[in-house]
Symmetry: C2
Subunit: 359 residues, 2 copies
């Protein structure tokens, strides 16, 4: 058993106790005589799992009954299409906050459905900045206002959320459950599971029930959020394995003290890393200070020729996934909920040593 420190941007590290539990229950889920993968999604046992998964999320985020919680196929990419298909109002534009790659991908899908306005853009800042609450110029009559709370590639996050006049839609794929969030300020929150919530192939959607009614009858039944609400997430066979892992992960989050406790640890992890990056001109942190992500810390080296060496030596020391996204280059440490504080300590020590040897 040689588990490594996995800094991958997603799919990403899962809590070890969750993997151990999944291993233990693989052949026989709690005396049922079968794996969770083998059981009917309409049976009593899986019903207990999916209800507990939903209850856990409601409890952890304080989600009121004004909102439905759905477990849908695919990750964020599927939601990029479903959001405009369900929420666009004919003749009105959707407002987009253009923070980078993920908001851009969502915008391209929205543009296929209807008109889009850019309420704020980080393009001139090379997508290394995120807006403050008052920065975006939202339209009063937009169908909805869209943002991505954390961009994994640039490594920027929206620290405080704006209050647009139209329903706020947020892609929280990379920071849901990592920070406190007032759900009732949003019309819809979605997240692909594979960063903080579970394995890939699961989209978690929190939608204000009245918004779900917007979906036009011309939209396929399967793609309407409202189809999935009455018998939550069981209109079709959901990704039962991912729902099960999500349930184990949200149990783990609760055991650790819930979102506030994890947020504190996440702040500590990010602070450790940024302190190192700010400590010497050897390092070039990428994101603007007020926009720094707590989940994806991005940087370059003053001497970019050392970057490959850094990745190689880190890997040899048991740290994987540190290469930056090909579109920005450099280095990236993704430190989602499941990534331990001690692991960040190991990286920071390695960085100090690397600087000594190469600075």
């Amino acid at each position: 058993m040689g588990r490594i420190l996995n800094f991958a941007s997603g799919p990403a590290m899962l809590p070890l106790p969750v993997l151990e539990k999944a291993r233990e229950e693989m052949l026989d889920y709690r005396g049922s005589g079968m794996s969770v993968m083998e059981m009917s999604h309409r049976g009593r046992i899986f019903d207990g799992i999916i209800k507990a998964a939903e209850a856990n999320l409601r409890q952890l985020l304080g989600i009121s009954d004004d909102y439905a919680v759905l477990f849908l196929p695919g990750g964020a990419s599927q939601q990029f299409a479903l959001v405009p298909l369900n929420l666009a109002i004919p003749g009105r534009a959707a407002d987009f906050v253009d923070t980078g790659h993920w908001a851009g991908k969502a915008r391209r899908e929205a543009e296929i459905v209807g008109p889009v306005r850019v309420a704020w853009s980080g393009r001139e800042a090379n997508y290394l900045a995120a807006p403050r609450p008052a920065d975006p110029a939202f339209a009063p009559d937009a169908s909805y206002a869209y943002l991505c709370s954390n961009e994994t590639i640039g490594g920027v996050r929206i620290a405080e959320f704006p209050r647009p006049p139209s329903p706020l839609v947020a892609d929280m794929s990379s920071d849901l459950l990592s920070r406190a969030v007032e759900v009732d300020r949003f019309g819809l929150i979605f997240a692909g599971a594979q960063k903080n919530l579970g394995p890939s192939g699961l989209g978690v959607v929190i939608i204000r029930r009245d918004l779900a009614a917007r979906a036009p009858d011309s939209l396929n039944l399967f793609f309407r959020y409202r189809t999935h609400i009455p018998e939550p997430s069981l209109y079709n066979t959901p990704n039962t394995w991912a729902v099960y892992i999500f349930k184990l992960i949200t149990d783990w989050v609760a055991d650790r003290g819930g979102v506030p406790a994890l947020e504190e640890t996440n702040e500590a992890k990010a602070e450790l890393l940024y302190r190192r990056l700010d400590s010497s001109p050897f390092w070039r942190p990428l994101a603007q200070k007020d926009s720094r992500s707590r989940m994806n810390v991005t940087w370059r080296l003053a001497n970019p020729e050392l970057e490959d060496k850094f990745v190689r030596e880190a890997k040899a020391a048991g740290m994987d996934g540190l290469k930056g996204h090909r579109s920005v280059g450099g280095l990236r440490a993704s430190v989602y909920n499941a990534f331990p504080l001690e692991g960040v300590g190991v990286l920071v020590d390695f960085m100090g040593d690397f600087e000594k040897r190469n600075g």
Copy 2:
């Protein structure tokens, strides 16, 4: 460890060696130091897994390079919408073979997209019959012709496939890899994985490349098959866990002698059950003889009041999932690839004993 005989209609029993392998590799996939759920879908290791998964399917079914193989989110329900969205030609109808619940669900999605013709219907036979090849009245100018090869609820299958003048689309969710199939007679074959192919949350699509070009530009990028073809199934993060289990299952199928060997076993399993059902008027097999499914065997008891007792006593004897679908009642034994011949023997013996005690 008390594994039961699981007759569930899907999600369903998986091969025990596959579960054991998944358990063994849960914390550390072959020395990588991480679970398959934790690794980047763009990394070297997962690339090997998804390429092997595709190669396995191509090998087992003899799929030529004229076809793309895709691993997409969701199961059959998502494909019910994607098929008409991608393949409907404006001004032309789609031909549907109406064999029951699943073909009907697909048809309702197709009707939202464009006109639909019913080329054949099993409605008057209470959906307990399937068509012979010459039965459906296909139109020469249809966009495509659609059928479901095996209906899990009635327990009927299309034994021999028709040759419509338009591209043939088949939902093979419940019998792909259980029987020989000439892929080049089809324009598109899809299957939700959770019967013969893996866990839920994965749609396997085999599409003739020229057909993928039909998708209109008004369709969202994510919902076009052609978006997913160039970098197969990695336009977004696929359900990596399900692709991994699919790979292990297709390895297992190959080890067992491939589709012909499994088909032989499946014929033997079904024959055992149908022979028992035909042996006395105590049993009332549901599907017409020439339409009987090899995957889902459905029946009632001459005395329906005994059906609950049958389910209860079977469960006490270690056999679960035998209750028929609520829409037809009675009993159902789903015996997909992973269900062992010996397990069918246990059921058939139990049935003999039950008849003696209650006949």
